[in-house]
């Protein structure tokens, strides 16, 4: 049986520890190499490496800062940042004269735009007032129905108006143009009667079409122009004749061409 000690002894005895350096100066070069390695990493070189590391770290921080600022500006230019951040960035760069999308300004513009659209609704609806296109005759029946709903807001005033003006008949359907016009102003059936009776004119259209916008009584009153806009047709004249009655009535202050203009 071979013990561990015997095995160790055999291993050591069999080991060839001879070494013949190929370079005779190897043992002389070793101290020089050690000195060179220790000198290379001491004093000035270590200080230089530290300085380089610090400068490098500053450069890295600066690079990151500039890069992140550039990225922020790029995103801010598209207005895709959250509103508070976008507002802040826009305020900051506005100082140096750069205009970026401003959420508050955009909101104001949106509100103004909405308000402008709502204000322009009468203008849009009043456009057809002067429009030359007349609807088909067959539609006047329904138009008259709408006009009934679009009577002047104050029927009593209309009655009083007709009572003051001798030219206005007390009841619709008298057949005269004056009556029809007055009735148009007063109530719709006269207008429909006027059109059906063949007194076709752009003015007639102008008098009837606004009545389709029955929800706006002042627009309805624009059917009583002084003839400036609704150039000289027969219906316009009749409207002119009816207009003084409406304007002379102090109970109808905001109606008529004044409001429309």
């Amino acid at each position: 049986v071979i013990s561990k000690r015997q095995m160790r002894k055999r291993l050591r005895q069999s080991t060839d520890t001879s070494f013949s350096a190929k370079s005779s100066t190897l043992h002389e070069r070793l101290p020089a190499l050690a000195r060179a390695s220790s000198g290379a990493s001491s004093s000035a070189s270590r200080l230089g490496r530290r300085i380089a590391a610090v400068v490098g770290s500053f450069g890295l921080v600066g690079w990151l800062t500039v890069g992140s600022a550039g990225a922020l500006m790029t995103v801010a230019a598209t207005g895709s940042l959250p509103d508070p951040i976008q507002q802040f960035v826009a305020d900051v760069v506005h100082i140096v004269g750069i205009d970026l999308p401003d959420p508050a300004q955009q909101r104001r513009e949106d509100e103004q735009h909405r308000a402008g659209v709502s204000n322009s609704i009468p203008a849009v609806s009043s456009g057809p007032l002067t429009g030359p296109v007349a609807p088909p005759v067959g539609t006047f029946g329904s138009g008259s129905t709408d006009l009934k709903g679009a009577q002047a807001p104050d029927p009593e005033t209309a009655i009083r108006m007709s009572a003051d003006d001798p030219t206005i008949p007390s009841s619709p359907g008298d057949g005269s143009a004056v009556d029809s016009t007055t009735t148009t102003t007063q109530a719709v059936p006269a207008a429909s009667t006027n059109t059906i009776s063949g007194e076709h004119s752009p003015e007639t259209t102008a008098t009837t079409r606004p009545t389709t916008t029955t929800t706006r009584p002042p627009t309805t009153t624009t059917t009583r122009p002084d003839g400036g806009d609704h150039e000289g047709g027969h219906g316009a004249e009749s409207v002119d004749r009816g207009a003084p009655a409406g304007t002379s009535d102090p109970s109808r202050p905001a109606i008529g061409p004044v409001a429309n203009r």
Binding site: V1, I2, K4, M7, R8, R10, L11, R12, Q13, S14, T15, D16, T17, S18, F19, S20, A21, K22, S23, L26, H27, E28, R29, L30, P31, A32, L33, A34, R35, A36, S37, S38, A40, S41
Partner: protein, 181 residues
Amino acid sequence: LRGGRPSISALKEGEPDAWVWFFEEFSGQIAGYARRMGVSDPDDVTGTVLETVARIMDNFSGTHSQFRSWVFSIAHSRIVDDLRRKSRRPQVEFDDSHDRGVDGFDGVIGSGDPDLAVALAQLTEEQRSMLHLRYVLGLSMKEIALISGKSEVATRVALHRCAKRLREMLERSGRDQAVDR
């Protein structure tokens, strides 16, 4: 010098006496380790290891024991590199200056002890390394584990197995020789 050996700082400062001690202390051990591992040119590997130690000596910090294991870890890395290079590009030697093992093993791993050479030839490279580091160079289990890149427990188990196997082979060869007589 303290107990015949210089301080680590003396080695770092490049004192000639300290490096003479280092050369005499380690050159033979490194060469023997390389030769045991079957390196084709142990002297060349030894010279390379000594130069490497001198070049990076400033990076070391520790005791003499740690310095010893550090030197042999460098030697182990160089030897493994040489063996891998040798396996990739086999070389044919013209000079048979050393006695060789038997049964086709061309490494010089057991000069003067053919039975041991044959037995070592049947071990793996790692097992030969562990046996040499432990029984010839006298490194501890922890140092061997650091050099071989294993845990201490795994190193202990592996060393126990390869020592047992080597012992069995040596006993078998001894019995065979006794029968032949």
